[in-house]
């Protein structure tokens, strides 16, 4: 246990860096991210424009900073819906079992059977495209099943352990048992699931915006920018490269963090 956890340290540092950049982007960017003709069109990377400019002469670095914020906030909100909904379903089914368990988990299987992007597309087409909140709702719904399965397993494994049975004998209410005695002990399973979920959410947002159903222009998000960049891959290769690098950095750092958390808790479980 006293061994240094390199993954955790590296993950924390990198995630911190990315988070700092995103925070910076929320308050300050070198140029107005939407200001056109901030520089010449299709200017290659230079000290003035670190990642060059796009077809409207907008500063790509400024847009990446802002877009990363948009992507991260969508991913976090998605994660919140997915994790909250999934944990609730997982806790109830894992703890109580019975017919409700069967029903909910089969429903879960049905949802899992859909390709996630396709499911999100369906939800978006029902809710209407072009609104951030709808993207979040759609992705959140898509993320519920995986969390439900993970947390159900965790809760079910804790259901019959001695200290839970003692708590039950002492007359603790089901709610108290679930919230106070069980939830904290599912953390070793849930935390890595959360970091993986965050990464999936980032990629899902990127895919959705890439398909043109995420954020609407002129707002930037990493996925939307990547899809724009694809149209000018030969005129401005740095556009796709810069945007793609940031997605990779974001996913990689949180991935490291998740791996670090998993290793730290390995001894516990």
């Amino acid at each position: 246990m006293k061994r240094r956890n390199g993954f955790l340290t590296a993950g924390l540092v990198l995630t911190g860096l990315v988070a700092a950049l995103i925070l910076l982007g929320a308050f300050w960017t070198p140029y107005d991210p939407n200001a056109m003709a901030a520089g010449p069109k299709f200017d290659s990377p230079s000290p003035a424009h670190w990642m060059g400019t796009d077809n409207f002469g907008r500063d790509i670095f400024s847009r990446v900073l802002q877009g990363a914020g948009a992507t991260a906030s969508i991913a976090l909100a998605t994660l919140f819906i997915g994790a909250a909904g999934g944990c609730l379903a997982g806790a109830l089914t894992g703890y109580f079992g019975g017919a409700a368990d069967e029903l909910l988990m089969r429903l879960n299987d049905v949802l899992t059977a859909f390709p996630s992007i396709l499911l999100a597309l369906v939800v978006i087409s029902v809710l209407g495209p072009g609104k951030k909140i709808n993207v979040i709702l759609a992705l959140g719904l898509v993320f519920i099943p995986s969390f439900a399965r993970v947390s159900r397993t965790a809760f079910a494994s804790l259901r019959d352990v001695n200290y839970i049975q003692s708590a039950r004998l002492m007359g603790a209410s089901n709610l108290r048992i679930l919230a106070v005695h069980m939830l904290p002990n599912t953390a070793p399973v849930l935390l890595p699931a959360l970091t993986i979920g965050f990464n999936n959410a980032v990629l899902a947002e990127a895919s959705m915006s890439f398909l043109g159903i995420g954020v609407t222009p002129p707002d930037a998000s990493l996925g939307y920018m990547l899809s724009e960049a694809q149209g000018m891959l030969f005129a401005a290769p740095w556009y796709a490269a810069g945007t793609g690098l940031v997605i990779v950095a974001m996913v990689f750092s949180v991935g490291l963090l998740g791996e670090g958390l998993r290793r730290r808790d390995k001894g516990v479980l």
Partner: protein, 521 residues
């Protein structure tokens, strides 16, 4: 520790693989949703192109109307394609003239039009064109069903129509020199009711098949009365995703694509010739006058002053395009009034003053609805959003798919502002200007100007061509003065044509004529 390092590297590799997989998967999804990528071998339409050199695949950005009946077509994109399948008594030429088609000759004194039916014209189903088909086709557009508005309201000017086997005489209630343009309406066989799904006309190409959201196939009509088309077969491939257009051209899946952006053209490389014409569209930010605050002329004028159109051309179109100032484009020579073009010079101060005058000193918020399959309009809207910011107006873009644009914006008139291009269905000024009369069914901006309405009556009833042109110009001036819309430009039409192909012809109306396209080798 070494092994762990290896694991990290593997993890990194996995992550980037997942990312790439995601990118690739996304493109695949696009191909499923709107079959954009025809490079795959599973596409039967792309295969024959390689085997039979005398066929091409043409990319189009949107599916055609649900019904292919030419009399009922709404979308410019449908008329553009079906121009190859249908003809009227007369048909337009690239120079803007009208020449006999199903009729072999015609005479007119302004009030009475006499047509001689061309001998030996056949429909695609093999039947000969008879006078009753001509009469049927005209009447179908002229007479209202169930008391509604006729399909072509202008045809109600016909006082009487007499026909024998070879001659058709049309008498108008008053002289109208531009009436001929309406007789470009498609001649259809009278006893055939499958036009919706399997259209039959007399044009140089005949309809073969259609797969909704995927393709339309035309073949050369061997019994065509005039100069036959060069190509045996033309496949129109629907590529709604703007990003896939470039790839489909470069992969060889598509040989010809019209209406490209300058950015796309710049990336195409050496395999293509770029032909440049004009799109013959009135691109504008159309404003719904029934919605506040666009009912106030000062607000509309402020918008016109706030928008810097030259900057739109420079930023979004690499400088291509011709500026306009009213609902008329330069290709329409005599009707185009260039003095209106710069009626509203870019002037943010003036825009702010006008807004303050109208009671919006701090600006207002508005939504610009843009069809998501037209990248030029999306780009234009993005520049406009930035420019309006300077005048204190907060605009946001709402992307809608083409189908909902047609139903909600165009037909339903539920919108504030929209950036699109409006075309002329026939080669007359009327085709562009009649829609803004207060009672027109397609007056989707709810324009209401009594002066405009009365000018329109005068224009359509005047006998002399010169006087008529003057009235039309006054109507254009009325639109400009009232800032009916924020007029922007007639887009440059950049057509990518694979090297070895030639014969693309540009018209003053929005059509894609493929009869002259041929392989040079």
């Amino acid at each position: 520790m070494k092994r762990k390092l290896l694991e990290v590297l593997l993890l990194l590799g996995l992550l980037s693989a997942a990312l790439c997989g995601c990118g690739g998967g996304s493109t695949g999804k696009t191909a499923e949703a709107g079959p954009a990528d025809s490079a795959g071998t599973q596409d039967p339409a792309a295969q024959p192109a390689a085997d039979h050199p005398n066929a091409i695949t043409v990319g189009i950005a949107q599916d055609l109307d649900e019904s292919l009946d030419p009399h009922l077509a709404v979308a410019a994109g449908t008329k553009e394609i079906m121009f190859n399948v249908f003809e009227g008594l007369v048909k337009p030429t690239p120079d803007g003239d009208l020449v006999p088609a199903v009729a072999s000759e015609f005479t007119s004194d302004g009030t009475t039009y006499t047509f001689t039916l061309r001998q030996g014209v056949k429909f695609h189903n093999g039947d000969a064109v008879e006078m009753r088909d001509v009469v049927y086709s005209i009447n179908r557009n002229r007479l209202a069903e169930d008391g509604g508005e006729p399909l072509i309201p202008a045809l109600s000017a016909i006082k009487s129509m007499t026909a024998d086997d070879t001659t058709l005489t049309i008498t108008l209630d008053q002289a109208n020199t531009e009436f001929l343009a309406y007789l470009t309406l498609a001649i259809l066989p009278e006893d055939y009711d499958g036009q919706d799904t399997a259209p039959v006309g007399t044009g140089p190409f005949k309809f073969v098949s259609r797969a909704a959201q995927d393709n339309i196939v035309l073949e050369r009509f061997e019994d065509y009365w005039g100069e036959p088309a060069y190509l045996d077969k033309v496949t129109f491939k629907i590529i709604e995703n703007a990003d896939s257009i470039l790839m489909s051209l470069q992969s060889g899946a598509v040989d010809l694509f019209a209406h490209l952006t300058s950015t796309q053209v710049a990336q195409l490389g050496d395999d293509f010739n770029i032909e440049e014409g004009t799109m013959n569209l009135v691109q504008a930010m159309y404003l719904n006058h029934a919605e506040k605050p666009f009912d106030d002329v000062r607000v509309r004028q402020a918008l016109c002053h706030a928008v810097d159109r030259q900057q739109i051309l420079d930023l979004a179109f690499d400088g291509y395009g011709s500026l306009i100032g009213s609902s008329m484009y330069p290709a329409f020579g005599k009707y185009f009034d260039d003095s209106l073009t710069n009626h509203y010079p870019h002037d943010v101060e003036k825009a702010r003053a006008l807004l303050a005058d109208a009671g919006y000193p701090d600006g207002f918020a508005m939504t610009i609805t843009v069809p998501s399959n037209y990248q030029p309009h999306i780009d234009t809207a993005q520049v406009i959003v930035e420019q309006l910011k300077e005048a204190g107006i907060t605009a946001e873009i709402q992307l809608v798919e083409w189908g909902s644009w047609l139903s909600d914006v165009y037909a339903g008139r539920q919108y504030q502002a929209t950036v699109v291009g409006v075309d002329a269905s026939t080669m007359t000024a009327r085709a562009l200007l009649e829609r803004f009369t207060s009672t027109a069914g397609n007056n989707f901006i709810n324009y209401n100007s009594p002066l405009y309405d009365s000018l329109f009556v005068k224009a359509t009833s005047s006998a002399g061509e010169a006087a008529q042109t003057e009235f039309y110009k006054e109507m254009e001036a009325d639109l400009t003065k009232n800032a009916a819309n924020v007029y922007i430009q007639d887009l440059a039409d950049l057509v990518a044509v694979r090297k070895g192909l030639t014969g693309v012809r540009f018209y003053p109306i929005y059509v894609l004529d493929l009869a002259g396209v041929r392989y040079t080798a």
